[in-house]
């Protein structure tokens, strides 16, 4: 790609996605106070692992305990 082509594509891109200019009065800032949302996020507990994930994990452990020879096979395909 020549330098001319590169400049042309850059111009086209700037036409398609004009730079985001701050508002003259407000500047670039959120429309609402985000601090309460940050606090809620900090207070939220991490999502618990769903019961079916626990069941699946327990099933896999049981399967590998009964058929340990399948472990290398699984590792091969991973």
């Amino acid at each position: 790609m020549s330098a001319h082509d590169e400049e042309r594509i850059k111009d086209l891109l700037r036409q398609a996605l004009p730079p985001i200019e701050p508002e003259p009065t407000a500047g670039l800032e959120p429309r609402v106070d985000l601090w309460p949302a940050v606090l809620r996020r900090l207070d939220s507990r991490p999502a618990a692992m769903p019961w079916f994930d626990w069941t699946l994990a327990a099933g896999l452990i049981a399967f590998f305990a009964v058929f340990p020879a399948s472990i290398p096979l699984l590792l091969y395909y991973l």
Partner: protein, 188 residues
């Protein structure tokens, strides 16, 4: 240092130190000081105010969680920008390209600098869509460097890569964009 009624100067820990120790008040202080910069940075990447607000919350949550790894010598804002960029990249990766051009996003894209009369609205729209199909890591480098005209060094720090890697990503983004447009019959 703060002055007590008796006039005795009592050392007060720096907000950055208190933040590292998990002090939420110090964190709020830093949030109030830097939220506009972080929001503006994210908005420039995702180009959607609602998404940028959500990602600003996400970024500050990640910042608080990662406080133990913060190095004061590096400065809070570049570090926050780096985490914000990662949050925005994760969002871009999780979205299908077509779903990113929402009405709100398109409205932001039609405002701004006056359009070149030689470039039709259709070409601009196809260019925006072709750009949305590029791999997210290339898009972020291109939008920040080319569209927003941010210094390569700043973009490199935010992406955690070298300046050369930024230039390479921009070059690859432009080359892929040209190919996509040519496939659509648009000769840039």
């Amino acid at each position: 240092m703060s002055s007590w009624p008796s006039g005795v100067l009592v050392p007060v820990a720096d907000p950055l130190d208190r933040f590292r120790q998990g002090d939420v008040d110090a964190f709020e202080e830093l949030f109030r000081l830097h939220q506009r910069a972080v929001y503006g940075w994210i908005l420039r990447i995702v180009r959607n105010p609602t998404v940028a607000e959500d990602l600003t919350v996400e970024a500050f949550w990640r910042i608080y969680k990662a406080r133990a790894r913060f190095e004061p010598a590096r400065g809070f804002e570049p570090w926050a920008r780096c985490i914000a960029t990662r949050a925005a990249l994760d969002w871009l990766r999780a979205r299908r390209p077509e779903s990113e051009l929402t009405e709100e996003t398109m409205a932001m894209q039609t405002t701004g600098a006056p359009a070149d009369p030689g470039v039709t609205a259709e070409i601009r729209s196809k260019t925006a869509q072709a750009f949305a199909r590029l791999p997210p890591r290339l898009r972020v480098a291109a939008v920040l460097s080319v569209v927003e005209d941010r210094p390569h060094k700043e973009v490199a720090e935010a992406l955690g890569i070298s300046v050369t890697a930024v230039k390479l990503r921009v070059f690859r983004a432009l080359r892929l964009l040209r190919k996509d447009l040519e496939r659509q019959g648009i000769k840039p």
